[in-house]
Assembly symmetry: C3
Homo-oligomer: 368 residues x 3
């Protein structure tokens, strides 16, 4: 039943390795109020430490006069089990169709990253191990609204790049369709999201600023619907040639965007930093300093320190400042293939004053 | 472990947009017998309004002497969430392998459309917005056995086209393997389906007639197994150049084939017109009139009216005649890409005398 | 966000047909201790009788100096329903990335076959209908550790082929991540597997020997963790040109690796021979004799007899010797396409003295 066909690009990134993770300390169970141990450790195969494993299909059609249609379908999965990630979605990483013009920019419809996560990655990206979950606060807490945040039902518009500036805007009719308590048929029964960001690039300098906001579903409790989670992020990187330096700051209020599960799953009734939650009066500031430097012809090192503060215990049960220190090395075998090693240490995971997470791993990233 | 390889076509259709839907009125809950409101409305992203979003792989091998092998794997999903459709099946739209000959026709094995749905689409197809769920009664009720009906475990045979005539026959050993109450190991524990249709095409005229029948699973109740759902459909289209006209009629007895869910999900214990059900003594007649006409070089308009009558309330709880009016416009940007707008109104949805459904949407369909 | 791209091979095997299966006899329900009938039969569409239906993506990158990177993603599904197999995994058949050298062999990481199953297939493979579930004891019991065993989180190393010898070694950090009672975050909470095998090929002769071992998860019961399942397999094939002969022997102790479900699902509390189980003191010996011979230019016949003995009833509730007799015929239409017919009879299925399984089917296998 299909007639037309054309060239289409099949692509992917595969990332797997071996690593060791350890969680230490104790927490107070938020339901039972009893102190429970977090101690656990694992030596085993690792998935997607540097970049998220994926396969995808993408294409672009020239419609004449600078106009084009484009699409991208990207399916996340893990190599250790062969299972779909992103909650079992087939194309959970990206599923968009769009129309654009060299003159006036482009529209994309579908499940996709929020604008901030994309710009964060373009500025703080591979050079600083941007995909490493450690840098990106995966092992702790921090840059809530650029922690690889994807929205369902997201319509985005992005300008062309003019004098180094690019701007993107988006509106999601339902931020996460898998959160059944925030999804319904009626428009306002869904948690909706606004996402916007501005990016600048000029020679050695790149920078961005982003804003995200969640409008609560009517299905949430009265207390939750009083909150309007907002998050600002600013970041910049400068390439000094002998090294590259990056700095970022974020402020999240009234809730949380992209969370981070406790490695190894829930302990008692605590499972980590939640995603897309509404917590009236909560405030967090986050800071990041990262340095990367070439080592020989094919190597690169990076180190980063990230910190997150919370003004109260309402998000996770803790309000201790959390720090994550990461150190990584990548060795390039070709444009498409590299080996890496990375280590990371987080104290006060999830703002909890006795929770520590350590991970080290070596791995292989291959791209096709 | 695989040696042979050859050219294979990767293809797809992506369809997304933005729209508004509204459900009005009340129904009597079939279990509690209390009158409940249907009122709900949504403004948001839409999926697959014109054509079902899909990606697929297909190929054909020439075996010499007119003989060939062919296959088609087609995976349905939505862009708004990136999720598999057709009940989470990987290749839920089509999964067939077949053997054919230019001389004697072809056999296909696997999950696929019934013959009637394919011929319905080839006659009443894109020209009349055949993929629009409105035309196809998705928003109401009507052409039960050609409402994009797919069967699991379907073996089909189709003749070559001779003097404009093509005929197809099929037998399904289990019409829907996801209906656990109609599926078992024993042959007769599965609901089996017979599907047959004849198509004619000659210049401006195309026409078809189809027949479908369900044989009930032994696992159903005594009352249900007394029913043998049958459905006949006849349809024809004629191209007058300034406009194209299409007419269709259907009669379904003793049950229902492809149903239509209530937009937004169940209200109380009512969830819409069910699929593959056995209702002894139920009878329905359906009628369709559709017109399409080119508008300028790249545009096309279509309008349609469909009506369905029921002889009793045993299928859905109502027996009111249901009407669906649709109006659509498509604008072609290229062979592969078009924009569309469509609106639809259904009264007496699911034969219920106070249930109304309205939808309007604009969207983009892109093909690769 | 992806820059590099290159040639990649999209491939697949599709296998479907029509067949009849019958289960006869009675068993003693392991929980209720009551004798229950197994009688059931089915005539219907068959899936993957000769080869597992799949689609996949694979590629290899030359890194210079004999070094290469490679990957293979292989997704199992059925044509009858269009559903993912291997427990719903997206790439349930294989999901690996690896690095190798013409000089020192290759490493692969991810979900993949154990070494024994791969070597078993390379020696006892298509020529003897290796994919036919009958030969491979799918309909009964037998060669536990080469019954298409795949492990999650498997790291393998394989030598280059030297003087006809190839050796492979592997370690799985979690043999089956879908077995929630054998999976946890802590290293020792997972059932881990060791797999090793040696293969020899020289002209008409091919042979292999394999060893597998499971180390029990700490989450299992005290009794289960006392068991360390081990399995040895030796097999050889010789091509006499007029016919090819194959012999194999296996010994499995203290549990079972790849099991076989009762066709049609559980009867009472009995569902077949289980997978990755720990049964202290259980021992089984298995034997296989297979012959294949060309019949005309395009045809091939094969026949096989397999037997399995058990020393006690602790695995399945029975300790009767089980025999499986199979007879098959394949007719090649092209390198990529063949028709087949196969019949199989098993007595004492799952070592149960009154359980019989018969199957016959004809089908089409197509490769792209």
């Amino acid at each position: 039943t299909t007639q037309a066909e054309t060239s289409v690009t099949l692509y992917g990134i595969l990332d797997a390795g071996v690593g060791y993770s350890k969680v230490d300390g104790t927490i107070v169970d938020p339901v039972t109020n009893q102190r429970v141990s977090l101690d656990r450790s694992r030596f085993g195969m690792t998935d997607s430490v540097k970049r998220g494993t994926r396969w995808g299909i993408r294409g672009k059609e020239d419609l004449g006069g600078g106009l084009y249609a484009k699409f991208q379908l990207e399916s996340g999965f893990n190599l250790s089990k062969g299972q779909s990630t992103q909650g079992g979605r087939l194309f959970g990483r990206n599923a968009t169709v769009g129309l654009g013009s060299d003159n006036w920019g482009q529209f994309n419809l579908g499940r996709q990253y929020n604008i901030g996560s994309r710009y964060f990655y373009s500025v703080l990206g591979p050079m600083f191990g941007g995909g490493f979950t450690q840098l990106n606060m995966g092992s702790g807490s921090g840059f809530s609204s650029v922690n690889w945040v994807r929205y369902d039902q997201l319509v985005t518009y992005e300008t062309p790049t003019i004098n180094g500036f690019t701007m993107g805007l988006g509106y999601s009719f339902s931020a996460d369709d898998s959160k059944s308590n925030q999804v319904g048929f009626n428009t306002a029964d869904n948690t909706r999201a606004i996402t916007a960001a501005l990016r600048y690039g000029n020679g050695p300098l790149s920078a961005f600023i982003s804003y995200d906001q969640l409008n609560p579903s009517n299905k949430l409790s009265d207390q939750q619907t009083q909150a309007t989670p907002r998050s600002y992020v600013v970041g910049a990187a400068y390439d000094f040639e002998v090294a590259k330096l990056a700095l970022a700051y974020s402020r999240t209020t009234d809730g949380w965007f992209g969370g981070a599960g406790l490695p190894g799953g829930a302990v008692g009734n605590f499972s980590g930093v939640p995603t897309n939650v509404f917590v009236d009066g909560f405030k967090s500031n986050s800071y990041l300093v990262a340095v990367s430097a070439p080592v020989g012809a094919a190597g690169s090192m990076f180190g980063s320190w990230a910190r997150a503060d919370a003004n109260n215990k309402d998000l996770t049960g803790g309000d201790a400042s959390s720090n994550t220190f990461s150190l990584g090395y990548t060795y390039t075998l070709s444009k498409r293939t590299e080996l890496y090693a990375v280590g990371s240490y987080t104290d006060n995971f999830a703002f909890l004053d006795d929770a520590k997470v350590k991970t080290v791993s070596v791995g292989l990233r291959h791209q096709f």
